[in-house]
C-alpha cells in the first residue's frame, strides 16, 4: 500500500482522471450562476485534519473558480477544527492565481472574507437565513474587523443575495442542515457540495432530486473538475492534484487486488481439498 501511494507521489506520475458527470454539471452551474454587484457566494469549509486529503482539493477548485470569476466569497464553518482550512486554502489559491496572472491581485477583504467558526449548527443557519442583513448578522470576521467595513461585503443584505452555497465536508449530518435550513419562502440557493468518497451514495439522492446542483465526488471529483477548469483556463495548474488522485487510484487498485486474492485463496484451497481429497 505504501509503495502504491508513494511511487506516484515521489515520481510525480499522474494519469488523466475518470470522467465524472456530476463534476461537469457542477462546473456548468458555477459558470452560469449570475452574480449581480453586492451578491456573494457562501462557502462552508466543514472539514478538519482527518478529511483534509479529500476535502482540501475540493475547496481549492471551488474557490479557484469563484476567484477567477471575481465572485466575492464568504468563508465560514460549523466545525471548530476547520480553522486551518479557512485560513490556508484561500491564501494558497490566491497565491497560485497571482503567480499565473501577475498583473492581477486577489486579496483578503476583496476576494474573500473569513467569518470563522460559527457554533450552533442548525440554529445558527436558521438565524442567518432570517437575518435582514447578513453583513451585520455575521458581525466581525476572524481578524476582528466589522464585515460591513469591507466594500465587497458591506451591504450583502438578506440571504437572497447569497446566490451560491458551497458545502465541503466529510462529516455526516452537516450537509443535511444546509439542505434543510438554508432556504426560506421564495428563496432557494444553488447548492454545490464536495464530499468524501464514503458519503457519495448519501449525496446522490440530493443530486437526483435537484436539491443539490453539483457534486464533487471525493478527490476524483476535484481532479475531474480541475481538468474541466483547465480546458477553459489553460494555464491553470492541477499537476499536484492529478498526482494525488493517481496515488489514491493506485491504493484503490491494491484494495481491489486484496479483495480478489482474499476470495480466490479460499476458493483455491476448497478446490484443492476436493481434488486431492477425491484422489487421496
Amino acid at each position: 500500500m505504501i509503495l502504491a501511494v508513494g511511487i506516484p507521489v515521489f515520481l510525480g506520475y499522474s494519469r488523466p482522471p475518470s470522467r465524472l458527470v456530476s463534476a461537469e454539471r457542477m462546473y456548468e452551474v458555477m459558470a452560469k450562476t449570475e452574480f449581480k454587484p453586492g451578491e456573494v457566494a457562501m462557502v462552508w469549509l466543514d472539514f478538519g485534519p482527518g478529511t483534509l486529503a479529500e476535502n482540501q482539493p475540493q475547496a481549492e477548485v471551488i474557490l479557484e473558480h469563484l476567484f477567477r470569476r471575481r465572485v466575492p466569497v464568504v468563508l465560514l464553518s460549523q466545525y471548530q477544527q476547520a480553522e486551518v482550512a479557512l485560513q490556508r486554502v484561500p491564501r494558497e489559491v490566491a497565491k497560485r492565481l497571482e503567480r499565473e496572472l501577475p498583473d492581477q491581485r486577489w486579496s483578503y477583504g476583496e476576494a474573500w472574507i473569513n467569518a470563522g467558526f460559527r457554533p450552533g449548527g442548525a440554529i445558527f443557519i436558521q438565524a442567518l437565513v432570517n437575518a435582514s442583513d447578513i453583513s451585520k448578522f455575521l458581525g466581525r470576521d476572524v481578524t476582528g474587523m466589522p464585515i460591513t467595513q469591507y466594500p465587497n461585503f458591506a451591504a450583502i443584505g438578506g440571504v437572497e443575495r447569497v446566490k451560491l452555497v458551497g458545502e465541503v465536508t466529510g462529516l455526516t449530518g452537516v450537509f443535511d442542515t444546509i439542505i434543510q435550513f438554508f432556504q426560506k419562502g421564495g428563496y432557494q440557493p444553488t447548492v454545490v457540495h464536495g464530499c468524501t468518497s464514503i458519503t457519495i451514495p448519501e449525496a446522490y439522492i440530493f443530486l437526483d432530486s435537484g436539491q443539490l446542483k453539483g457534486l464533487l465526488e471525493g478527490i476524483a471529483g476535484a481532479a475531474w473538475y480541475s481538468e474541466v477548469l483547465k480546458q477553459h483556463y489553460p494555464k491553470s495548474d492541477n499537476t499536484k492534484l492529478l498526482v494525488v488522485n493517481t496515488a489514491l487510484s493506485a491504493a484503490h487498485l491494491v484494495i481491489i487486488l486484496l479483495i480478489v486474492i482474499g476470495n480466490l485463496v479460499p476458493l483455491y484451497q476448497l478446490l484443492r481439498q476436493r481434488l486431492w481429497g477425491s484422489h487421496g
Binding site: S18, S22, G50, A53, P146, A250, I255
Partner: protein, 351 residues
C-alpha cells in the same frame, strides 16, 4: 404506587424546561411568518437563538469538569492506567494554557487593529448621522466631528509611522503595503480641508466615503501586518507547534490508519459467501473502478456504469434508508422533547 420525592421534582423541572425549549423552535418552524411577526418574536429570534447557542456552549465547561474529575481521581488514587490519565491532563492543561495565551494575544492585536478601524468607522458614522434629522440627534456639529476625525487620523498615522520604523517581524512586502495605505489615508484626510462642513453636500459625502474606503483598506493592511509580526512571538509559535504541528498531524495520522485497516479487511473480511454478498461486491468493484484513473483501461463505459449504479439502485435504497431513519429520528426527538427518554433523571420508586 409511585412515591414522589425530590428527584422526581427535579425530573419534572427538567422536563418542563426541555419542553419549553423545544416548543419555541417547533412553533417558530410551523407557524406562518405573519403570525411570528404579529407575536413580535421575529425581531428577537436572533437573540434567542444566540442564547440557545450559549447554553449549548456551556456543555464544554461541563465536559471539561467531568474530564478533570474522572481522570484526576485516577491520578490521585493511582488506579490502573493512571499514567494515561496523567498524559491526558497534561496535554489538556498545556493546550488550554497556550490557547488562552494565544487568545489574549489576538485580543490585544484586535484592540490594536480597532484603533486603526476608528478612522473608517467614524467617517461612516458621520455619513450615516447626516441622513438623520438634527431634531432627533444630539451630536456635535459636522465641522467639529470632521475636525475630530482629522485630528485623530493624523495623530494615529504619525504614531504608527514612528512605530513602524522600529518594528521587525513582518515581511517587507506587508510593511510596504501598510505604508502605502497610510499615505493614501493621509491624502484622503487632507482632502477634507478642501470643503466647508456646514452641512453634508454630495461632494463632501464623497470625500468622506473615500476616507471610509481607504480607512478600511488601511485597517485590513494593519491587521495583516500585526498578525504577521505576531507570528514570530513565542506564544504564537508554541500554539502553531501544538495545534498545527501535533493536533492536526495526529488527527490526519489517526485517519490514515484506517487505510491500513481497510487493506487488512480487504483481504480477510470481504469474502463472498452468498449471492447477495456477490452482488454487493460486484457493485463495489464497479463503483471503485469507475471512480479511479485506471478504470478506463478496462472499459470506457466504466464511469457511465458507475453513474447508473449510483443514480438508480443506490438512490432508491438510500432514500428508503433515509426515510426510515428520518421517521425513527423524529420519534426519538419527540420522545426526548417530551422527556419520555429521560428515565435517568427520575428516581421514583414503584411499590
Amino acid at each position: 404506587m409511585v412515591t414522589i420525592n425530590s428527584s422526581d421534582q427535579r425530573a419534572r423541572l427538567i422536563g418542563i424546561f426541555t419542553f419549553l425549549g423545544g416548543i419555541y423552535f417547533f412553533l417558530y418552524f410551523v407557524l406562518p411568518e405573519s403570525a411570528i411577526s404579529f407575536i413580535g418574536v421575529k425581531d428577537r429570534h436572533e437573540a434567542i437563538s444566540n442564547g440557545f447557542i450559549v447554553i449549548g456552549a456551556m456543555a464544554i465547561g461541563l465536559g471539561l469538569f467531568n474530564l478533570v474529575s474522572a481522570h484526576g481521581t485516577r491520578i490521585v488514587f493511582k488506579k490502573i492506567g493512571w499514567v494515561y490519565s496523567l498524559a491526558l491532563i497534561t496535554g489538556l492543561v498545556c493546550m488550554l494554557g497556550v490557547t488562552s495565551a494565544q487568545w489574549l494575544q489576538s485580543l490585544a492585536l484586535s484592540a490594536e487593529q480597532q484603533r486603526s478601524q476608528i478612522i473608517s468607522e467614524f467617517a461612516q458614522r458621520i455619513i450615516d448621522d447626516a441622513d438623520k434629522t438634527t431634531a432627533t440627534l444630539t451630536v456635535p456639529a459636522l465641522q467639529v466631528r470632521v475636525d475630530a476625525l482629522k485630528l485623530y487620523g493624523f495623530e494615529h498615522l504619525s504614531v504608527l509611522e514612528t512605530k513602524l520604523l522600529g518594528q521587525r517581524g513582518a515581511s517587507s512586502l506587508l510593511q510596504h503595503e501598510l505604508q502605502k495605505n497610510i499615505a493614501t489615508v493621509r491624502e484622503k484626510l487632507a482632502q477634507l480641508d478642501a470643503v466647508s462642513w456646514g452641512e453634508l453636500s454630495p461632494g463632501s459625502a464623497t470625500l468622506l466615503k473615500e476616507v471610509v474606503t481607504s480607512g478600511a483598506k488601511f485597517s485590513v493592511a494593519r491587521g495583516a501586518y500585526l498578525r504577521e509580526a505576531a507570528a514570530t512571538t513565542t506564544v504564537q509559535q508554541l500554539y502553531t507547534l501544538l495545534y498545527e504541528g501535533f493536533f492536526n498531524q495526529l488527527g490526519s495520522a489517526m485517519f490514515a490508519l484506517l487505510g491500513v485497516y481497510i487493506a487488512a479487511a480487504a483481504y480477510r473480511a470481504f469474502r463472498i459467501r452468498s449471492v447477495e454478498s456477490a452482488l454487493m461486491m460486484a457493485a463495489a468493484l464497479i463503483v471503485m473502478l469507475g471512480q479511479i484513473s485506471f478504470g478506463r483501461m478496462i472499459s470506457d463505459d466504466m464511469p457511465a456504469l458507475r453513474q447508473w449504479l449510483l443514480e438508480v439502485p443506490n438512490s432508491a435504497a438510500f432514500r428508503a434508508i433515509r426515510l426510515g431513519a428520518g421517521v425513527a429520528g423524529l420519534m426519538l426527538a419527540i420522545r426526548m422533547w417530551l422527556s419520555i427518554e429521560s428515565r435517568s433523571f427520575s428516581a421514583g420508586k414503584k411499590r
